[in-house]
Assembly symmetry: C2
Homo-oligomer: 130 residues x 2
């Protein structure tokens, strides 16, 4: 259980950075060398290496070394655990959207009831889509 918690910590920390998320997106297209991963960013190779190490620690990257060339490839499986954790809350954001829809419906009904018959104060506003 503690292990699972630690894994989620490492995973969420790893993806809490735009450069690291962009690296994962790049790797989704295929394996890349460390140099290729670093190229789009205004960072040193050492800086890129730190990002890559955080992704490795989270199990999101596997690195193959051939001589001086380090090739990274994506292992998306740890993201599955993150998605599973988030899934528990899905019913809550759905419920919020349902509640919002209900509020808008109720407001629309109130507006319709309050409007003096035969003498609209202003042109009918388009009905908000729920």
């Amino acid at each position: 259980m503690v292990d699972n918690q630690a894994r989620l910590d490492t995973l969420f920390r790893a993806i809490a950075d735009p450069t690291r998320r962009a690296m994962l997106r790049e790797l989704a297209a295929g394996p890349r060398t460390v140099g290729e991963l670093a190229a789009p960013y205004d960072i040193t190779l050492a800086g890129a290496s730190k990002h890559i190490q955080m992704l490795e620690r989270a199990g999101l990257i596997r690195r193959e070394v051939q001589g001086r060339v380090h090739t990274c490839s994506l292992d998306a499986r740890p993201l599955h655990a993150g998605a599973e954790w988030l899934r528990h809350y899905e019913r809550f954001w759905n419920r919020k959207l349902d509640a919002l829809a209900a509020i808008l419906e109720a407001e629309d009904a109130k507006t319709a009831a309050a409007k003096p018959a035969g003498k609209p104060r202003k042109p009918a506003t388009p009905r908000r889509k729920s």
Copy 2:
């Protein structure tokens, strides 16, 4: 776009901690005061407040103040953005599982082919489920 990236950073950092994840789980059952949220942990109220502030910054908690009582409630909507980001990688972890299943199938086939006919070395092993 930058805003979205910053929101994902704040969200993933907020949930990259077991105490904060546990607080969210607690709030999933209903609103809680800051004291109630802090109670299960061996942390000071100030420590709990810091965690709560990180959750607030990520938009995951709303705080209602009545006199001295601060009541927190869950707003799960930002988690939706996180789930959406993760969803892009779903096909990758599925693909890995497919690949694993294929390897196991191939191994089973090899084992069956290598087994000398009429003289099983050991009782048939149950077929691994793919």
